[in-house]
């Protein structure tokens, strides 16, 4: 395992582009394709937006991002906050077969994270929510 990137910033929208750009260039150095990097950034955005909007309620807090290589040729993005406990794995999948009238407006974010990553994990450690997005580094990428 090798640490590739460490960032800690206040969990605010103004830091969104900076964090995403840093992760994007880190993924690029791992040889991932432009398409795959965009997919990864979409998944990361969903995690960040949930933290920015819901983790800290009325108080201020940080988001910490660590990018690293993992077992079996993987690229791992670990995103940590110290906000209210939230297990994204427990969120039910939306019904994507409904027509326009019945289709729910929300609930797509976590579904996209699951589908756009090769593995999505959550753990609670002390006062921390730790979400891990695992991306396979395959030769054709």
């Amino acid at each position: 395992m090798e640490i590739l990137l460490k960032i800690q910033r206040p969990a605010r929208l103004e830091n969104f582009n900076y964090i995403l750009d840093m992760i994007g260039s880190c993924a690029k150095k791992q040889g991932l394709s432009e398409k795959r990097i965009n997919e990864i950034c979409i998944a990361v955005e969903e995690v960040l937006m949930n933290i920015f909007n819901y983790a800290y309620k009325d108080k201020e807090g940080d988001v910490r991002v660590v990018c690293k290589t993992g077992q079996g040729s993987t690229f791992i993005i670990e995103i940590t906050d110290t906000g209210i406990p939230f297990d994204p794995i427990s969120v039910a999948e939306p019904d994507i077969t409904q027509d326009i009238d019945m289709r729910q407006i929300g609930g797509m974010g976590i579904f996209l994270i699951r589908k756009l990553t090769d593995d999505f994990r959550y753990r609670r450690e002390g006062n921390k929510n730790i979400q891990e997005l695992v991306i396979k580094l395959t030769p054709h990428d």
Binding site: K35, I42, L112
Partner: protein
């Protein structure tokens, strides 16, 4: 994100380039809402230059689509590629909307 429009008879072609993300999605939604309030009812969203769409963008599209449906309007998409095409497939938007390769094929079919 960059948005431009052109009118082809009663169809408004909206070309959106760059990214529809959590930051830019409200702007995209307001832009289309404004066109609807001006009386436009039929839209082709040209995604040739769209590189990125997150759930915030899907949410905006769904809000606009629901609004158009109550006004007997329609929304079509053209030129989806790469990550945007992937997100449309995953989220079921391919079966929710009519999607064409290009504006020309959309205009021929509508």
């Amino acid at each position: 994100m960059e948005i431009t429009t052109r009118q082809k008879k009663d169809i408004t072609i909206v070309t959106v380039k760059g990214r529809i993300d959590g930051v830019t999605a409200p702007e995209f939604e307001n832009y289309l809402s404004e066109l609807i309030s001006q009386g436009r009812r039929n839209f082709i969203i040209n995604c040739d230059g769209l590189e990125y769409i997150s759930s915030a963008g899907l949410r905006s599209i769904l809000i606009i689509a629901k609004k158009l449906k109550t006004e007997q309007g329609n929304i079509y998409f053209s030129g989806l590629k790469d990550a945007v095409e992937e997100v449309f497939k995953i989220s079921g938007f391919y079966s929710l909307f009519k999607i064409y390769d290009s504006d020309a094929s959309a205009l021929n079919s509508i």
